[in-house]
């Protein structure tokens, strides 16, 4: 048994030459060092392993600062997968990762970013700063989900705060020329524009507003929703325009 354990430890040590604090980079087709421009070009099947993160990509441009050892930014293209030990997982056609600022930009179709229970998807562009909590999504099929909410829209901007290892949305702005959607456990909201502020627990919806709760639906030009009490008020520029549908509920009551 002892021999087996020693053998396993020995083999593990052989597999990775990396020690604590070191970053190991391997490639299949070489590394180009541009000393004046201060970057490495890493080619084919690139794997970067450090204490903080692991990255796989087809091609990587790694920028260094003072010394060759001081890599500060990693711009990767082709089948990029980035996993950090701070709960970040990023997948995309291109991932631009600022190591020190923890700033991540993901470009291309089926871009995905997961950070502490918060999931962002886009066919355009995702930008997240894990330190400040600021995020931005731009493009088709943008969605943002966490445990409590689902959001979709062409532009999604906002910030999150970390609460018990879960990222909660602090501020949010969503906009789309066709329709945005915010879905909570009890409310399904549609409009062209939306704002949310965690401080006062208010969601505001602007233009082509539609709110669905249980079997009732209400439409108007503007809505203000209190997320704590789940009460809402819908208004319209034209007083007759607010429309409430309770049909299905009545049918249920009749039954």
């Amino acid at each position: 048994m002892k021999f087996l354990i020693i053998t396993i430890i020995f083999l593990s040590a052989q597999i990775s030459a990396r020690e604590l604090g070191q970053t190991e980079i391997t490639t299949d087709e070489g590394i180009e060092v541009f000393k004046q421009e201060k970057y490495y070009l890493l080619k084919k099947n690139v794997e970067i392993i450090s204490d903080e993160f692991k990255l796989n990509a087809d091609l990587v441009k790694a920028f260094f600062n003072e010394g060759l050892y001081d890599v500060v930014r990693i711009d990767s293209t082709g089948n990029v997968i980035l996993k950090s030990n701070r709960g970040i997982k990023a997948i995309g056609e291109r991932v631009d990762f600022n190591v020190k600022d923890e700033d991540i930009k993901i470009y291309g179709n089926k871009s995905l970013l997961i950070t502490n229970e918060m999931e962002m998807k886009s066919d355009g562009f995702i930008k997240v700063n894990n330190k400040s909590g600021l995020f931005s999504l731009e493009g088709e099929n943008n969605t943002l989900t966490n445990q409590d909410v689902y959001i979709s829209g062409y532009f999604i901007n906002g910030s999150f705060i970390k609460f018990e290892e879960i990222n909660e949305i602090e501020n949010l702005f969503v906009e789309d020329q066709i329709e945005i959607n915010i879905k909570t456990e009890t409310l399904d909201m549609y409009s062209l524009k939306a704002k949310y502020n965690k401080k006062n627990n208010i969601i505001e919806l602007f233009e082509n507003v539609k709110i669905i709760r249980d079997k009732e639906s209400i439409e108007g030009d503007y809505a203000i929703i209190n997320t704590l009490t789940e009460s809402y008020k819908v208004t319209s520029t034209n007083a007759n325009k607010v429309k409430v549908l309770l049909k299905e509920k009545r049918e249920e009551e009749d039954e």
């Binding site: 604090g21 070191q22 970053t23 391997t26 490639t27 590394i31 490495y40 010394g67 050892y69």
Partner: protein, 149 residues
């Protein structure tokens, strides 16, 4: 009376000395030719052209010394550096076993395993190419880079 007895003793000595000198001269020239031939063999088929070659690459930022144990001229400007080939500057060192160095263009090329070392940085590759007087270094094949902050 024997005719030999008629030869003057002095004449005989001169004759013997002349013959001896002739043979000595003959042997001397033969040896010189032999040495000359040996020298020609050495020059036309050397084991290497330069012993402990040393060159310098100068760019704006640093001076890179190129050294090896042996060097063979492949052409006027191309030199094949062999055994313990080192490219060294204040900032880095590259070690390989065989490198082709172009003196005129100051380009180096190697298909042998190479190790690059700099402060907190080690690159192991299956070869390398040095361009732009050392500003650009391309490491070929399966390559590993170890960074130590």
């Amino acid at each position: 009376m024997n005719t030999f007895l008629k030869i003057n003793k002095k004449t005989l000595i001169i004759l013997l000395i002349s013959i001896s000198i002739f043979f000595l001269v003959l042997i001397f020239f033969k040896n010189i030719n032999k040495i000359k031939n040996q020298e020609n063999i050495t020059m036309t088929n050397p084991k290497f052209d330069i012993l402990n070659p040393l060159f310098t690459i100068n760019n704006d930022k640093e001076k890179i010394s190129v050294s090896a144990k042996h060097g063979d001229f492949l052409s006027e400007n191309l030199i094949l550096l062999k055994n313990n080939v080192f490219f060294e500057s204040e900032n880095f060192q590259i070690e390989s076993d065989e490198v082709i160095f172009n003196r005129k263009q100051q380009i180096a090329n190697s298909d042998e395993n190479s190790i690059f070392k700099s402060e907190g940085t080690e690159i192991n590759s299956e070869g390398f190419r040095m361009l732009n007087k050392g500003d650009i270094i391309l490491f070929n094949g399966k390559t590993s880079l170890l960074l130590d902050k």
